[in-house]
Every structure is written in C-alpha cells, then in structure tokens.
Point group: C2
Chain length 509, copies 2
C-alpha cells in the first residue's frame, strides 16, 4: 500500500500546485484590480502548503515504504523514477533554510515595485541596492543547494537540471561562431517587404485567426482556451485543462498569431503527457514546486519554438495558409503573396528588447543575461558595473548601442525583480532542442515533411507526442534527446537550420 500512499500524497501536492496555477492564471486574465493583495497571500499559502506536504513526515514515511515496494523495478521505470524524484525534491527543499526562503520571498515582492520604478525612470541606481541583495541571497541559495564547479549551476538546476556555466560557455561560443556571420551579412542585405504586417487588423479578427491556427496545428480546446494578456503564456492544470494566452496589437498582427502558435506548442506538450501520469510526480515539478508535465523549462521551450518557428514560420505553412489569413482579414492582404508573407515574418534585425527579438538574434539576448548573471553570482561582476557590462556585451554581440538602462536596456526583464536568476538559458536550450528534434523527425520519417507540405500536422504532432510529450517528467531532457535523436543537446542542427533559412531569405553568399 505504500506506493499507493505516496502517489495519493503527491497527488495532493499536485492539486495544491495546480490550484496555485489556476489562481495565477486568473490573476493575469480575469481578476479585478482590487484583488491583487489578497491573491498574493492566497498564492503564498498554497505554495507553503505544497512544500510542507511534500516535506511532511507522512510523505517521508510513504516514500520509505514505496522505495522498498518498488525496489525490484528498473531504474527508469515510472515507479522508480517517482520514488527517486520525490526523494530528491525533499532533499533539495530541506537544504534551503526556511529563513533564507522567507528573505527571498519578501524581497521578491518588495523589489518588484522598486524595479518597476527604476525601469520607468530608466535609472539603474534605483534598483541596484535591491538587486545587490537579491544576488547575495541567490549566492546563499547556491551554497545551500550545492554545486560542483560554479554557483550558477546550482541556480540553473531548478529550471534546467544538468546545465552548467562551463557547458553554456562552450555552447554559446559555438552559437556565436555560427550566428554572428549571419547577423553581420544580413545587415548588409536587402530587407524583405514587411509594411503590410503593420496595417490595421481588428483585435477580434486576430483572436479568431490565432485560435483557428492554434487548433489547426493540434491544440485541443476541449481541454484548453485562449485569452489575451499583456505577456503571452501557457499554463496547465493537469493535461485536461491547458490554457494559453496571446497578446494583440492592432497595428502589428504577427504578435497575436505567433504568440498563439508558440503557446499552443507549449500546450500540446502538456496535453500530450501520458494520462496515467496525471497528478503524479511525473507531471509535477517538485523542485520548482510547479505542476507541469514538461521535463525542463528548456524542453518545454523546444516545443513552443518548434511549432512557432519550424512550422509556423516555414515556407510550406504560408503556402498552405495564405488563403486562410486573407480570408481572416478581408481585403487586407490581397497584395501580398505567400512567399512575401513568409519572408516578412522571418526578417531579422538586431534590437534591444529580448521579447521582441527575432529567431536569429534572440539567443544573443540570452547569452548577455546568462553571462552577466553568472559573473554576478560568482562575484566577478559588481552589480554597480552591470549596466556598463550589459551595454558593452550588446554592442559586442549585436552591434547595437543600447539607448537607456530602462525598457530598452538592462532593466527590461521582470525576472530579477522577483529573485529569479538562472532561468534565461532555457530559451536557447529550447531553440537548440527544437532544431535537433525537428531534424531527426523529418529525416527519420520523411512523411512528416510531406504531411507538413500538405498542411497535415498530425504526423509531426504524433512523433513529438511519442518522443517527448507522453513521457512527462519520467526521463531527463538529455535522456529524451538521447532516445529521440541518439545524442544529448547538440547545437549543429540549429545552426544548420538558421544558416539555411537566412541564407535563402536574404540571398546570402
């Protein structure tokens, strides 16, 4: 009975975390303004209740019994993995002193306002003291969590287990080697026509078309819904209720469409997790205390990037759906052909703001953040020197002169204000993993590309469900990649994809 007791108890942890996710979704989509203060208390209570239940004597007792019960199972069986993951999570959380966690949480909520003010004023000195404390707290966290080589490794663990500062250095160097020449060459090339993307597209019609395309690639709205928010996101409350949002700009239509395709990619990961894993640790991130079926933040991003970039921004997609988008916006795109549309939504240009960056330049924004975070965490960069280092690195990688320290500069992201350090690498891991999976899928099963050419997304979705989504959190990200592609994370397919795509669009030598 002990294994059953364990999954019953972890099921309740999952319920509490999912309840928190519902409250977060509601806060971002539906909640009236007045509800904010009470809501943050409710969220805090749910998080504490989940953590306390995870680390309770009841759980430990069930865990010991379950461990004995499943001792004969293979190491990578669902049962053995559940036992191992619960044990590891308890161990992880018990290494973090409650008073340290409390200091982090408290600073996280007070620092947000300070950051918002500093960002508004474009004055880094307003935020510097809070960030200094936040970096110190994160260094303490790293010590508590433990690491072999670099304290940044400990901080990345909850977002992208196994990723190291040293590994990122090598990876980023290889990416720059392949990508900087492309960026430079594009700067001198002729720009594709794109003025039609900035026409007036009614918000309602954008939402209808965004949902239509999300459903077209396989997002199941019987178990989901699409809403609008300032920042698009996906969140699940088990695989049976996986919601997405997108943002709408009436003067820049691609935002709502690609936002929806991106989040639908995330959503299909969650919707595709083995139903048998529902409410179990294989659909619960017990380290980050977040109810999610995806195995890492980077693995999750691989699915959103794959559907957004490898499918939604492909030439075949627009050959197939140019008529659909013309029908969605009568009279607005009559002077645009599929090839022009394809090129327009793939144009690339260095910019200041990460969330607005294109497929080719996005990773440079990630590199800047990861490298500077690692240096702050190991003490080789003082917080006071951060803006200068930021601007210098942006100039170095993208050739741009950052105009201010606010929305276009070092203060643009919300992450640091809440104490999150170590999360940015996921985006680049996602880009690389997406290309690696897509390459293998289309080489291994040529009918996948044939189907994509005919606007049939089922074979690709099925391949991704079989090789990624269904496994939930049973296998690590690199185990998944090994099983699916025969090797761990490898940047070469990504570089090949970018080189081929941009050389073609910009007619590079």
């Amino acid at each position: 009975m002990s294994y059953a007791e364990l999954t019953e108890a972890t099921g309740r942890v999952n319920d509490l975390l999912n309840a928190g996710s519902v409250l977060s979704w509601d806060a971002r989509t539906m909640m009236p303004k007045g509800g904010a203060e009470s809501r943050s208390k409710q969220l805090a209570t749910l998080a504490v209740a989940a953590r306390d239940l995870l680390c309770s004597d009841e759980m430990k007792h069930a865990l010991d019994g379950a461990a004995a019960e499943v001792a004969g199972k293979p190491d990578d069986s669902a049962e053995a993995r559940i036992v191992a993951q619960v044990r590891e999570a308890i161990d992880y959380h018990e290494r973090i002193p409650p008073e340290l966690l409390r200091r982090k949480t408290e600073l996280g909520s007070s620092a947000h306002e300070v950051w918002a003010e500093a960002r508004e004023q474009a004055d880094f000195s307003i935020f510097a003291p809070a960030l200094t404390t936040m970096v110190d707290i994160n260094r303490e966290m790293a010590q508590a969590i433990g690491y072999e080589t670099h304290p940044y490794d400990a901080l990345m663990y909850r977002f992208e287990p196994g990723t190291t500062e040293a590994g990122l250095k090598t990876l980023f160097a290889r990416l720059r080697e392949g990508m900087i020449p492309l960026v430079r060459a594009i700067a001198d090339a002729e720009k594709p026509r794109a003025e039609f993307l900035f026409r007036d597209f009614p918000a309602d019609a954008q939402m209808v078309f965004a949902l239509q395309m999300a459903e077209r690639i396989g997002y199941d709205t019987h178990r989901g819904r699409l809403d609008t928010t300032v920042h698009p996101f996906e969140v699940s409350f088990t695989r049976n209720d996986v919601r997405i949002t997108t943002r709408v700009n009436e003067r820049y239509m691609p935002m709502s469409l690609f936002g929806a395709l991106h989040e639908a990619g995330h959503a299909m990961y969650e919707q595709g997790v083995d139903p048998a894993y529902t409410r179990t640790p294989l659909a619960t991130d017990l380290i980050s205390l977040y109810a999610v079926g995806g195995v890492s933040f980077g693995a999750h991003e691989s699915q959103s990037r794959l559907w957004e970039n490898h499918v939604g921004r492909s030439r075949a997609f627009w050959k197939n759906h140019m008529d659909d988008i013309r029908a969605a916006y009568p009279g607005k795109l009559d002077d645009v052909d599929a090839e022009e549309f394809y090129r327009a939504v793939n144009r690339s240009e260095p910019s200041f703001v990460r969330v607005e960056a294109d497929e080719l330049t996005y990773d440079f924004h990630v590199m800047v953040r990861c490298e500077l975070e690692a240096k702050m965490v190991d003490g080789s960069l003082n917080v006071a020197e951060l803006p200068e280092a930021w601007n210098a690195t942006m100039k170095d990688y993208l050739g741009v002169d950052v105009p201010d320290d606010g929305k276009q500069g070092v203060l643009q992201d919300v992450h640091w204000s809440s104490g999150q350090i170590g999360t940015f690498c996921n985006y680049t891991v996602g880009n690389i993993m997406a290309a690696q999976l897509f390459e293998t899928a289309t080489i291994e099963s040529p009918d996948i590309q044939t189907a994509l050419d005919a606007a049939d997304y089922t074979p690709l979705r099925t391949w991704l469900t079989n090789h990624v989504a269904q496994h939930g959190r049973r296998f690590s990200r690199d185990e998944l990649l090994e099983k699916a592609t025969g090797r761990p994370l490898d940047p070469e397919p990504y570089l090949a994809h970018l080189t081929k795509k941009y050389s073609d669009i910009y007619a590079l030598a």
Copy 2:
C-alpha cells in the same frame, strides 16, 4: 504572540478556502469541459487541507494561547468572537466522524448523475435509493452534530445557526396566514400587461445594462466583475474580489437584470465587510468551510432580496430608470411607461419551479421543501412517499397540480443530489430579514426613501453597511437584527410589504 499566531493560521485556512472558491468560480465560468475531473480532485484536496489545518495541533495550541491572551476582552469583541468561533468550529468538525464525511462526499458525487438521469426521465424511482441513503447519512450527521429537539435543527445549523424546526413551523404558519389570501385574490384579479418583457433583447445589450444597474446601486467593479452562467451566483475571494454572474435569456429580459441586482446585493454585503476582518474568522465560515463575510446564508439572502425586490422592483426605481432601460434597448420599450414596467416585473402567479417563482409565491416553494425535509429526517415521511407528499403540499399551498416528478416537480432542485439537506430555509429568512431591515432603515432615516426616490442609493447602502455588512461574522444574525431593528427575526414587516405592494398592483380590496 498567540492571538497573532491564531489569526495567522486562520488566515491560511481562509486562503485555502478562497482558493477553492476561485477554482469553483473558474469551473462555472471559464473552465473547458475537459477540466472537470481534475478540478473536482483539486477542490477536494483544498477542502481537506483547510479542514486539517483548522483541526491541527498547531491551531489548537494557538487557540489555547489566544484564549488566555484575550480573556479580558468583552464577550462580543472581535477578538473574543474569533476565539469562540474557532473553538466551536474545531469542536463541530471533530464531532463528525471522518468515515461519515467520506461516505457523504462519495455519495454526493455519485448521486448527482443519478439525480440528473431521474430528473431527465421525470422518474423519481431512479433517484429514490440514493436519496434514501442520503437521508440516512444526514440523520447520522445530525446525531453526530447533536441537537436539542429535532434532528433537522442540527442540519440547518451550518446554514442558518439557531433556526429550529419548531421555529420554522410557527413562522411558516404566520406567513401562510398572511400570504395565501393574497395569492388567492390575485388569481381572480386582472393581470398586468407584460408581453413586452418577452421581446427580443440582444444578449450583449442585456449584459451591458445589467452591469450598469448593478454599478448604479453600488456594486464596485474595481473589486468585482460580472459574467454569465446558467445559474446566477455571487462568490467572493475576500472583500477585495467579489464576483457575480447572471443568466441571459434573449426572449425574457428581466432574468439578466434582476439576476444581476440580486447578486450585486450579495456582493455589496461582502464588499462592505470591515477591511480589518479580511482573512480572519470574521470573514470565514469555519463551520461550512466557506470563505464568506456574511454571517448566515439567510442574512446574505436578505441583502440580495432587499436590493432586488425592495429597490430594483420598486415603483421609484422604474420611475427613475425607465429612460435608462429604453436607452439600453433602443426602440424596444417605446410603448411602455414606467408604471407598466413596474407592474410587469411584479406580476405574481403560482408556478411549479422555485427558481422561477415570483416574490409572493417563492416562500411556498421553500415551505414545501423544509417541511418535507424535516419529516424525512425525523422518519415521519418515507422517501418513497415524497413525490405524493410534494404534489399534495404544492396543491394545498399554491393550488397547482404538479405535472411531473422531473424538472417541474420533486426532482427540480440539485441540492439533495449533493447531500445538502437543511439549506432551503435561508431564502425565506432572507425575505423576512430584508423587509425588516428595509422598514427600519426607511422609518429611522426618512432621507433614505427620499434618496431612493431620487435614484440615490448611497444612503441606503451606507445604512446597510453600518448595520449589517461591516460586522462580517462578528455578530449572529439575530444579534444583528436586534442591534439594527430592536428585535429578532419578525415576519410582520414582510407581510405588510407584500400586502401593500400586491394590493396596490392588483387593486385588491
């Protein structure tokens, strides 16, 4: 520090219960169909977590310390009441054996489908076995909870503390004495014109007007929002986020409007609770395990009924807002004057269905249910005899021949399917209390009626906030009434109100 520890711990109980309320609201308004199964598990876990925290050793320890700490405070101080209410709630929950609660919960979820099937087929025999078990379980609950005179008293306790079967008998007899002659006289009187209410009113316009009127009487949408559901309801997640819903029938416009006014009345109760009570037991029903600031279900209903019936269905209201409703539905009501509209929305006619009953006949539906519930609970009525008893009582009170045992008869309400017995009295308590409060308010402060005549709802709202809402759950319903009106629940103002209103509308002798 112990009193502070107590309110910290009860604050977390409140958070968990509010989280459950958010999940319930979401399930009824936003959730995709696929989410239902996971959601019910999440709700169950939250309810258990709240109950376990309430009855935890930590809570009892804090309670003992707090009791010593506030020993010198007056009995009706907030602190003394909090200590007393927490102690009473722990005692209440610990009297109910966990296995009995489990049986009730399990039957509650399985019986729902059986009831729905029986209702659809209009075949009571399908539901009879489940209802028999449910009645037995409720009898066991009554024994566990304890009572002085009648087991029904124990079941009503969590909904309307202090209400007894004997008290209801007296109350209902007096109501019938005053109301049956009105019902009979109206049957022979000329019916007011009402055909214009059934015209085609677009759903969007109905929602706009419903919200406009809800805000007009004082519902604060900075701390609330209006949505549509099949059954209208109000739910709060602290006073800072109080949401309402209404239902829209494009061929019967009053439904959305009076639904919104009714729920706005509930909402203003919650929005008016003293902010100092937020997250405390004075804004948490620890007996019913529901995060609510209103002191009883009946007291809550008094506020919704007061705003719906005494304000929204008053002659003055339509004198003032006839132009508004004409503007909301251009061209639809040009041939209707304020007096005609007032009479139309106050017409009365015996009917079969409680939720569609008018102000005068509603209480008869309540009486039927309470009387039959009490008899089933004390064993003087067998479940098998229920349909016959139902139909006979409906004939006796309202003179109608119930056509079937389904949607128009004994199976119409969902309550029994979930095991709820003892809740129906609240509606009549609410009607009586509404009239009693409204009479006192307008006698005590004549400027309240003057203001209402000028479409100024602030003086009435202020009076109700001062005499009812602000106190949250600090005073019992009858304490509130004693303080506000000088006496406990008294049906005479209600009977006087009905007699005056209907004698006038129907020109009765």
